[in-house]
């Protein structure tokens, strides 16, 4: 072998060695995140489709899919169409973990979206180690304030205002309207209720009677009857119920049976007429006159451009289903998810999606009547509520005939009248 050839060979070897080293040492950026192809984005949701918490909530995935299909029919997101894999967790946290694992490991979704319930969301986050694996959990359907804490849940984003926010705003309402009344509170005895207690404390509200219930126990016949006995004994004139809809159903039905009259004030989670109707349509009129809270336009508000669009989309996708709060919730969730995916751009990655929500989320279009609170330090969605009264058919309409929205935070900030004007909906809601 000539000297020149040896030198060429040595140089070639060196080049090949460096190339091999470089290729091996590069992080795996060449491969895309799971759940993505050049033409599709796969998202996953686990939600109670059956079980004690399913009435009403089981409409959410169908509503989400209806909006995603609408977006897909209009070109998708940056050329990619969205598919939604739906799993039934029956509101059992252990099952929710198993279903989330299926979504992540078998279905290989790009992100989770719309996980429902504080307990299930917590269980999934802990057991599947979303944060460690960088898997986004978008717009969880729970108002537990902890999920907005970026340090604790770096890849999770809320969509609802926190329960603390709701309780603070509710507290102002109670002070303004019922300052001289005997107050009672029925609340779910977990983080949901603990958030509410913190919010009421911030608002300076003390109840004469506190009735905690363990989540799930509201389905037992004796539970609701026991509440009403305690309320009767206390002479409560205004009763706040900070719990799920099945708890509202139990309370209203037992109050009716016992002919116990009180001014009901229902939290946003528990005041859903459709969910109550799913248990027994006869219970819906029991809502009549109760106060309720919401942060989205009323589903019966035909003047709202988002509601009009959502109604139109849903009527085509699910012509036999009623358009209600749960549909608005599902379609709003999907709408926000599309906003986030669009904002991330064509070079879609999990890390990029999280960053897009943190940096641009506060300015996303949304159907909500409050600003969004997303930032690099807080993963909070909507930030306020309006108060309304339930009519005989269970429809919630704003007091005073217009949406008077109050906003606050999950800490010590005051409750203030919001001056937020919701920007116009993007053309065709896309």
């Amino acid at each position: 072998m000539t000297r020149t050839n040896r030198r060429k060979l040595a140089l070639t070897s060196a080049v090949l060695a460096v190339a091999a080293m470089t290729a091996s040492s590069l992080p795996a950026q060449a491969a895309s995140d799971p759940g993505l192809t050049t033409t599709t984005i796969k998202l996953g949701i686990t939600v109670p489709l059956t079980g004690i918490a399913s009435p009403g909530y089981n409409k959410i995935p169908g509503a989400m899919k209806a909006y995603f299909d609408y977006v897909n029919a209009n070109g998708g997101v940056n050329g990619r169409k969205i598919t939604l894999v739906i799993k039934d967790d029956q509101y059992i946290p252990t099952t929710a973990v198993a279903k989330a694992n299926e979504l992540i490991l078998k279905d290989k979704v790009f992100a989770l979206v719309g996980t429902l319930g504080t307990a299930s969301t917590k269980a999934i986050s802990a057991s599947t180690q979303l944060a460690k694996r960088g898997i986004p959990s978008l717009f969880v359907n729970t108002g537990f304030s902890g999920f907005a804490d970026k340090k604790a849940y770096p890849t999770t984003f809320s969509i609802l205002p926190s329960y603390q926010m709701e309780a603070k705003i509710m507290g102002k309402f109670l002070k303004d309207k019922y300052a001289d009344k005997k107050l009672a509170l029925i609340y779910q005895d977990d983080d949901f209720g603990r958030d509410a207690l913190a919010g009421f404390k911030q608002a300076g509200i003390t109840f004469g009677t506190y009735i905690p219930y363990a989540s799930g126990s509201q389905s037992l016949p004796a539970t609701g009857a026991g509440w009403i006995s305690k309320l009767k004994a206390s002479g409560a004139e205004v009763t706040v119920l900070f719990g799920v809809s099945s708890a509202s159903t139990a309370a209203l039905a037992n109050a009716y049976a016992a002919q116990f009259k009180t001014q009901w004030v229902l939290g946003s989670v528990g005041g859903d007429a459709t969910t109550i109707a799913a248990t027994n349509k006869a219970y819906v009129p029991l809502l009549f006159g109760a106060k309720g809270f919401s942060f989205a336009p009323a589903p019966t508000d035909a003047t709202d451009e988002y509601i009009k669009l959502f109604q139109s989309i849903y009527a085509t996708a699910q012509p036999t289903q009623t358009f209600d709060n749960n549909v608005v919730a599902g379609m709003s969730n999907a709408f926000l998810a599309v906003q986030a995916l669009q904002a991330t751009g064509s070079n879609l990655t999990r890390a990029g999606l999280i960053k897009a929500i943190e940096t641009k989320g506060a300015s996303f279009a949304s159907p909500f009547l409050t600003p969004l609170g997303y930032s690099a330090t807080a993963h909070i969605g909507a930030t306020g509520y309006w108060v309304g009264t339930y009519g005989p058919t269970g429809a919630l309409t704003p007091d005073g005939g217009k949406y008077t929205v109050y906003t606050t935070d999950s800490g010590t900030g005051p409750v203030v009248l919001s001056t937020y004007t919701r920007p116009a909906m993007p053309a065709k809601g896309l």
Binding site: G51, S127, R133, S219
Partner: protein, 542 residues
């Protein structure tokens, strides 16, 4: 006669030759040469090691140079009477076990020997916590085997439960003797987490259900200590029986502590307190017969939320309470003092993440707060510093993986929790990342990049979403087949053979195959190879 034909004859006959339990007339003198007998081309040997521990080994005429050195799992160091059924009757034994399942099923040994491998195992001179004795016995057995079979080139150390600790310890302390490792349902005690697991459970039972239950402080007198252990097992079993009887009504055992009785008076059901103890210790909330997601007819939706987690803890606590009583007592004997310490444990933090997940089963936040408050009435345990200092020398492992290693672990193992496997995985991830960095750094000067080779394959026995069966009365059917991924060391012969083939192949070729063939091989025997699957770490290490 051609080698291939001879191999076929040997293979056929070896199976027949080993149809029964390994029985060879063993010499009684320690250190004497093994006594061997050959029949149908299969040589079985038995002997007694320098420490008096019996051993056995087998190889056939087609021995290929690789021996599987097996370490059996923990055996109680004391006799247990029939009055403590189902734990007893048990008579202490040091019988040699040359392979997994050997006590009841020779199929693993048969298949390995027929394939040309050797198998060997000691009974160990000490039962209970015996890592020191096992290390010595295993080293000696390797030498003895090699003397009898001088063509031995490769040793694969494998073991289950405490035996897996012995195999790993051999690989760490004597890497020159081991070429491959298999750890089945491994025991390990990173930062005393396993001691804490058993101790927290027993202390919780003491604090709430029976103040006379012992957590530590066993007598140094052998007979007294044995009596104390047996009494403790009896108390744990009695409490479990009463908790079982009170599952529906919420009734507390009559032995409950004053704090427990106050909780009962406050309306908190005993099953919520049982779940609290499980949550404090990190006991799995899925057990052999309780999947946590199913319910009996008429309660399919509420049972998983309200009752199932506590029932799973009840079933798992049978193992935890008994094993804890035996192992902590043995640990104190070996170290000369108390080894469990919860003087600084924050039990509120331990249960924080479970409070909402199991809210109904806990009877709500207020009940959790009340139960945590009740714990304050029971004095904490303080370990002896000198005793604790001895623990690493007795059972300490680094967890480093230097040879091709397969780990098999069940997602809901109540004896050696899956957190141990996760500790190995996390440690190896860091080890591999460091090796990669070192290789890149080395390549900068040598201009030749040698990528590190993966040496760990983690095979999970995962649980299925639903597997519970219920009796007509609505209780879990304890006679039903146990759920996959639950219980301790419930591996099939096919699973052991698959692991053996994987490691033997890796030792032969220098590396494990790519992901695809491993996934296929694992799936074929009901295991899962998924590098993205994770389980929670020990609560005491979180």
């Amino acid at each position: 006669m051609k080698i291939s034909l001879k191999s076929r004859i040997v293979s056929a006959l070896a199976v027949t030759a080993l149809a029964g339990t390994v029985v060879v007339g063993a010499p009684t003198a320690a250190n004497a040469a093994p006594q061997c007998a050959t029949a149908s081309f299969v040589t079985q040997c038995g002997g007694v090691g320098a420490d008096g521990a019996p051993y056995a080994f087998i190889a056939a005429a087609n021995f290929n140079g690789t021996v599987f050195l097996y370490s059996h799992g923990v055996r109680p160091a004391i006799d247990i009477p029939a009055t403590l059924a189902p734990v007893g009757p048990y008579t202490k034994t040091n019988a040699a076990e040359p392979g997994p399942l050997a006590a009841s099923d020779m199929s693993v040994i048969n298949k390995l020997v027929a394939a040309g491998y050797g198998v060997a195992g000691s009974g160990f001179s000490r039962q209970g916590v015996n890592a020191t004795e096992a290390l010595a016995a295993n080293k000696e057995l390797i030498a003895t085997f090699k003397t009898k079979f001088p063509t031995t080139k490769t040793v694969i150390a494998w073991g289950e439960s405490l035996g897996a600790m012995h195999s790993q310890m051999l690989a760490e302390k004597n890497p020159e003797l081991v070429d491959g490792v298999i750890l089945a349902c491994p025991a390990a005690n990173p930062q005393d987490a396993l001691i804490a697991y058993f101790g927290d459970a027993l202390w919780g039972f003491k604090a709430l259900f029976d103040p006379s239950i012992k957590v530590g402080g066993y007598s140094t007198d052998a007979a007294t200590r044995q009596g104390e252990q047996l009494a403790n097992i009896g108390k744990v079993l009695t409490v479990l029986g009463k908790l079982s009887a009170g599952l529906s009504s919420g009734a507390w055992p009559d032995t409950a502590s004053p704090a427990g009785k106050a909780l009962q008076a406050a309306g908190i059901p005993s099953r919520s307190a049982l779940l609290l103890v499980g949550s404090m210790a990190g006991i799995p909330t899925r057990s052999k017969h309780v999947d946590g997601t199913s319910g009996p007819a008429g309660a399919a939706e509420t049972y998983p939320l309200a009752v199932a987690p506590a029932v799973a803890i009840l079933e798992n606590m049978g193992t935890v309470g008994v094993a804890g009583s035996l192992l902590i007592a043995d640990g104190e004997l070996l170290t000369g003092g108390k080894v469990f310490d919860n003087s600084k444990t924050d039990y509120a933090a331990r249960v924080a993440s479970d409070r909402d997940i199991y809210s109904f089963a806990f009877s709500g936040n207020s009940a959790v707060d009340a139960m945590l408050g009740a714990l304050a009435a029971t004095p904490r345990e303080t370990a002896d510093a000198a005793a604790v200092a001895k623990i690493p020398g007795l059972i300490g492992l680094k967890g480093t993986i230097a040879k091709p290693t397969v780990i098999m672990a069940a997602e809901s193992d109540e004896y050696t929790p899956a957190s141990i496997a996760q500790w190995y995985i996390d440690g190896y991830d860091a080890q591999f990342a460091a090796a990669k960095d070192a290789a890149i750094a080395a390549a900068k000067s040598s201009r030749s990049y040698q990528a590190p080779v993966n040496k760990l394959v983690m095979l999970w026995a995962k649980t299925a979403p639903k597997y519970s069966k219920f009796t007509a009365a609505g209780s879990p059917d304890l006679g039903a087949t146990i759920g996959a991924g639950t219980g301790h060391c419930n591996y099939t012969s096919a699973q052991y053979i698959a692991a053996a083939k994987m490691v033997a192949g890796a030792v032969n070729t220098g590396k494990f195959p790519n992901q695809g063939p491993i996934v296929t091989a694992a799936k074929k025997v009901g295991l899962s190879y998924d590098k993205k699957f994770r389980v929670p770490t020990f609560k005491s290490l979180a």
